[in-house]
């Protein structure tokens, strides 16, 4: 890059005296060759590149692959030189370099890493200690045993509580299931068709009748109803817990700080891991399946409720306050109605996540379409498996189109 004479002059006055002797460039090839040890003259952002390349070079040297070492080393330096020259205006690089005037942490990290790589590749007791992390079988076993003990303790002593919860969940499930199974199929066709027609016109009507037709024709009718009952029951529990929790999170930053990692945990922890304790607490059958589904499907509803309330514009809050609203009036008359689209999206997400849990739930006796998939897989019946999977997809389509994803807003 060719600098105008004026630029060169300003640059050189801004630089230390020894640098200004005839050269305008901040980054000398020599500096890049030495790497992090001359960090005071170059931006720190090449640290990771230097670390990886020089670490590999040192390892290769230890393996006596000197040619490879030289290749890696020179490649890394060429890359840095190329990056520097592609990086754009020199003034920016110089600012970074000035900011990095005393980069002792970086230099120490670089030296420490290289030294450790050398040590780990030598022979002897230190090398053995360095190459594998000192794990402790004992710690893990003790921790696992204490969790086991806790679960056992809770199973025994919390028996009454779990039995009450089980009974309530079962009542909810059975209620929904009997409503669904007692309705003759033409009634379901008519009601669902009407809802679809109200929401999305004739196109949607045809779509939902095709989906229902598939479920009926291929003999998944009663299983689909069971699955729907499970999904609806989970949804009830999710809404009952999720919306108040979302409101609480939106109102109190402290609770958000606590709940945020818990919600992450609920979503990322593999569901099989808590399926077993759920069985221990609630015995086999539908209640533990419901609990597992709720754990998995709750977080999006909580998050989206919280988000919806947080997004209520400040001026609306101010107007409510200025007209003398109590906190409860604020919530009921402004915040919740304005958060409704977001809450609806949350409910839709929750339904989808509930449906994605039906196969897992079938493992512990959740029944429904998940069981068909499971049975087909266990007997290596590809065709049956795919047909049952499609039935779940059609259930999802029905729920998604009817439960409303907020595609149609009222205002």
């Amino acid at each position: 890059m060719a600098f105008q004479p004026a630029d060169t002059a300003t640059l050189s006055t801004a630089l230390p005296a020894r640098r200004s002797a005839g050269k305008a460039s901040v980054l000398h090839f020599a500096d890049q060759l030495v790497g992090p040890l001359r960090f005071s003259a170059q931006p720190r952002r090449f640290l990771l590149l230097y670390l990886l390349a020089d670490g590999a070079a040192v390892w290769l040297a230890m393996q006596e692959l000197f040619v490879a070492m030289l290749v890696v080393f020179s490649l890394s330096r060429c890359t840095v030189v190329a990056l520097v020259h592609l990086a754009g205006p020199e003034a920016k690089l110089r600012r970074e370099a000035v900011a990095a005037r005393r980069p002792w942490v970086e230099v120490l990290l670089y030296i420490f890493s290289l030294a450790t790589i050398v040590l780990a590749n030598m022979t002897g007791p230190i090398a053995a200690q360095l190459s594998t992390f000192p794990s402790s079988q004992f710690t893990r076993v003790t921790a696992a045993a204490s969790i086991d003990a806790t679960v056992t303790y809770l199973t025994v002593h919390g028996d009454v509580f779990f039995r009450i919860v089980t009974r309530w969940l079962l009542a909810l499930l059975k209620g929904l299931e009997s409503v669904l199974t007692l309705s003759p199929w033409p009634v379901i066709f008519a009601v669902v068709g009407f809802a679809a027609w109200k929401r999305g016109g004739a196109g949607l009507l045809v779509l939902v009748w095709m989906a229902l037709g598939y479920l009926g024709l291929f003999g998944y009718w009663s299983e689909a109803l069971q699955t729907s009952a499970l999904v609806l029951a989970s949804l009830c529990v999710c809404v009952a817990i999720g919306i108040p929790a979302g409101i609480l999170l939106a109102k109190s930053p402290a609770s958000r700080a606590i709940a945020s990692p818990v919600l992450d945990l609920m979503q990322t922890m593999p569901s099989f891991v808590y399926l077993l304790p759920a069985v221990a607490f609630f015995s086999i059958g539908k209640p533990p399946a419901l609990i597992a589904t709720v754990i998995f499907a709750l977080p999006p509803l909580v998050r989206l409720t919280c988000l919806g309330i947080e997004q209520v514009p400040l001026h609306v809050r101010e107007a409510m306050q200025a007209h003398g609203a109590t906190p409860l009036q604020m919530l009921l008359k402004a915040e919740l109605p304005l958060a409704l689209p977001s809450i609806r999206t949350g409910i839709n997400q929750t339904i989808m996540m509930c449906l994605s849990m039906v196969v897992v739930a079938a493992l512990i006796g959740g029944g429904g379409l998940g069981y068909n998939v499971l049975f087909a897989l266990q007997n290596v019946q590809y065709g049956e498996g795919i047909l049952a999977g499609l039935a779940i997809v059609f259930c999802a389509v029905l729920f998604d189109r009817l439960a409303g994803s907020g595609r149609k807003t009222d205002f």
């Binding site: 514009p313 101010e318 409510m320 306050q321 200025a322 007209h323 003398g324 008359k333 304005l338 205002f411």
Partner: protein, 372 residues
């Protein structure tokens, strides 16, 4: 050059003798970390630390800096300032949407900082209405339901409340629009709903936070005129925030000019335009034409000081051929009179000649500068 004497201003449209409805007493608002604000507040009040230093060294922003003013009953009081001058922060102190860091606000001679949550809600619901720049209507409610909001919040239902809503809507000219949603209305109409909402609560005091700033000029002018008329006929006391001096002049009985959290000048539109206290205010009033709000009394030369006909004038004898007009006659009218006559105009008050306005006085007044 004749010195123009200090004039009395026409203040008959509000009652000076009654106590102020809203009174700010040395109000300060400092934004920043609470402990830091507490620490430096004493120094700020004693002026040991200036605003710039508070910001640079302590990270505190002084938004309102020792502001005091009184709003008299049935007066429209405008606070005019550019963005960042602290005017929106200041108005939010009056209904305690923002708590003052120091100082006190009295509403009807009662300090509002002493109120508990319930009493404060009561004050907001019954005594003080507020209209916002961005209207802040609830999008899921119809015009009628939005207007009904303040009544609903204080638990009033039934026929009387609905009558109040309909009356408020017809006052602002929105009768027949009750069932529309805010998104179906134009900006001007939305702001009318905002105004109706404040009127429905039947509050004595209206806080207007730049209500017309986001509207196009024609609608704005129309609403300004209507608002002024409404405030006067309903006898409301209004605190009106604006960044537009034209608006302040058109609407306000008195205007306070704010800059950097302080009030620079308070006075009637004529006072502000004709005798700005400093260059900052002078800059604002430069382009303002005084013809519609400056009256004869303000610009006349008193009869006692009129050299040519002093004796005759003092005897209240109007010289031959002089046009005569009352002391409250506006400059615009005087200009017309002057163009029709080559004699000076005699200004009378109840049959007595109190002064004279000649071409020279008119030209000085139109020039916008009282003293030169």
């Amino acid at each position: 050059m004749n010195a123009v004497p200090k004039m009395q201003f026409d203040t008959s449209h509000f009652d000076k003798a009654r106590a102020p409805v809203v009174s700010c007493r040395n109000v300060w608002k400092v934004f920043g970390h609470k402990s830091v604000v507490d620490r430096i507040l004493g120094d700020l009040l004693a002026e040991n630390i200036d605003v710039e230093r508070a910001r640079r060294e302590h990270g505190c922003v002084v938004a309102v800096k020792g502001v005091s003013f009184d709003v008299r009953p049935s007066e429209v009081f405008c606070i005019m300032g550019l963005s960042g001058s602290g005017k929106s922060t200041l108005i939010r102190h009056v209904n305690r949407l923002i708590e003052p860091t120091a100082g006190d606000i009295l509403v009807d001679d009662c300090s509002i900082s002493a109120l508990d949550a319930k009493a404060l809600r009561e004050l907001r619901a019954r005594k003080i209405g507020m209209v916002f720049q961005n209207v802040a209507l609830l999008p899921h409610r119809t015009v009628e339901e939005n207007t009904y909001l303040p009544l609903e919040l204080r638990g009033e239902t039934g026929a009387a409340a609905h009558a109040a809503v309909h009356q408020a809507l017809s006052i602002v000219g929105l009768a027949g629009w009750e069932d529309r949603y805010p998104s179906e209305l134009s900006g001007g109409m939305q702001q009318r709903v905002g105004l109706a909402r404040a009127l429905a609560a039947d509050a004595d005091i209206l806080l207007m936070d730049e209500p017309f700033s986001a509207l196009d000029p024609l609608i704005r002018k129309q609403l300004q005129t209507e608002f002024r008329r409404l405030a006067k006929t309903l006898g409301k006391t209004a605190l009106f925030i604006t960044h537009d001096l034209d608006e302040a002049i058109r609407i306000g009985d008195r205007i306070a000019i704010m800059r950097d959290g302080q009030i620079v000048q308070t006075g009637s539109p004529a006072e502000i335009v004709l005798s700005p206290v400093n260059d900052y205010v002078a800059q604002f009033v430069e382009g303002i034409s005084p013809v519609h709000f400056v009256d004869a009394e303000r610009i006349m030369v008193p009869a006692t000081q009129y050299p040519a006909h002093a004796a005759a004038l003092l005897a209240s004898v109007v010289p031959e051929g002089w046009p005569v007009c009352e002391r409250g006659t506006l400059l615009a009218k005087l200009i017309v009179l002057q163009t029709e006559s080559d004699r000076p105009i005699a200004i009378v008050d109840g049959g007595l000649v109190i002064g004279v306005v000649g071409p020279r006085e008119i030209l000085i007044a139109v020039g916008g500068h009282e003293k030169r």
